[in-house]
Subunit: 226 residues, 2 copies
DNA sequence: AGCTGAAATTGACGCCCGTCAAAGACTTCA
DNA sequence: TGAAGTCTTTGACGGGCGTCAATTTCAGCT
């Protein structure tokens, strides 16, 4: 399998330095969160934290792609969202003071920076305004979930797949002769899971994409024509 | 149309006094939010605030049922969630310092308590811990959205309608000889909107409900058998 | 290379949903 | 009471999705 761990956030070698995420407030305080803390390498499918597990801190995605998944009692699981490089995960559980309601899994070889719970507390005590920024993350999560619900109710599967590919290409698509090219960082199963459909149906949606859209997918290669 | 404005939160005549919502922290500070402020009566279909409108405060639902709706450019609208008596709305926009991303509309005759923006600020200055409780509301909103996404992906329309009826009956269903009875506080169009399906399809789902579930709907009357 | 198991595709089939259209029920107002 | 308009239901139809099953492709390992 092609190594995908070199795919990074556009800001370069940064970990946790993406200022745009913290735009509502000046961006000086949060990067200190990850300074000097462990940077865990994660293999594909490796679990970062499990559902029901006690919260032990927050994580910043440095490289790769993390899937946030919800597992139900009946064994069904749903991929709720993707966490791209530069994003923080685990803050919902941290802020609520509750065990994780979701599971975090590396979808490709990834790297995350772990900030232990007590360290986050220390930083919050020294810099109370950081709490407001974590709240901003919660708001962003609400908006994203709402967008997901709206898309599921009003857009076709082909449109939603196109939207997702567009977002992925925007983050780490590379220009090439034919347009924009990218290694697809999700398996068909994960992709179907994220769209809320079965893998067999996704297969047919992908096939239809060749006719209905500017995107084409062959295996793990995605191409935006034009 | 039958008057539904007498349907209240189980806690009685309270406005904004539902302690369970603020459980993570001791429940002394937030009820002061609504003390002495306007209590607006709302007719069915009346808009509380519109999408894109500047945030002018937060609202506490005292009676009735408020629908949180997202309107798209193409004219389509989606009912994202319901706000029951005892709940706060408008806090996402307040905390983000942004215009409202959604629209709030009374689905039945309702009553809300409006707390102006500057008053909320004053209260937050006097009682900084209230900010944490608003953050708890954000977290609850995330969890609810996630539950919505999971249900849409894994449960049938019949099941999701049953779930919704169960929740509504739990809040203001009245015991009767046959089981539990309730006036349905949503039109078929709103109900379909909330489930993400067309009204015609909902009509058939309702008809199927008689066979597949313990619920029966006739017009606006809901009955849980047993 | 060859084996093995998982992932991905393809086919067949039935059911459910979206769409368009029409009829029926209900509310509001005169 | 009657009329107008909206809400709701029902029907017909085509397409999309889920399910089951079989096949093919692919990645990892010896």
């Amino acid at each position: 399998m092609r190594d995908y761990s070199d795919v990074q956030h556009p800001c370069g070698n940064c970990d946790f330095h993406d200022q745009s995420i913290w735009q509502p407030v000046s961006g000086a305080a949060l990067p200190i969160l990850n300074r000097g803390f462990d940077r865990l390498p994660l293999e594909t499918s490796q679990i970062l934290f499990e559902q029901g597990e006690e919260n032990s801190g927050v994580y910043c995605v440095s490289r790769g792609l993390i899937g946030i998944r919800s597992c139900q009692d009946d064994g069904k699981s749903t991929l709720l969202r993707l966490a791209y490089p530069g994003e923080i995960i685990g803050f919902r559980s941290f802020m609520a003071g509750q065990p994780h309601h979701t599971e975090a899994q590396a979808l490709i070889p990834s790297r995350v920076c772990k900030v232990p719970r007590h360290s986050v507390r220390q930083i919050l005590n020294r810099s109370p305004e950081v709490l407001g920024r974590l709240a901003d993350r919660c708001i962003q999560e609400i908006d994203r979930s709402h967008a997901h619900i709206i898309a599921a109710a009003t857009r076709s599967n082909t449109e939603r797949l196109s939207d997702l590919l567009g977002r992925l290409l925007q983050i780490h698509g590379r220009d090439c002769a034919d347009g924009k090219r990218m290694y697809l960082p999700l398996s068909r199963i994960d992709l179907a899971d994220l769209l809320g459909i079965r893998p067999e149906t996704l297969s047919r949606v992908v096939a239809r994409l060749l006719n209905d859209s500017a995107y084409s997918i062959c295996g793990r290669e995605v191409l935006l024509r034009g």
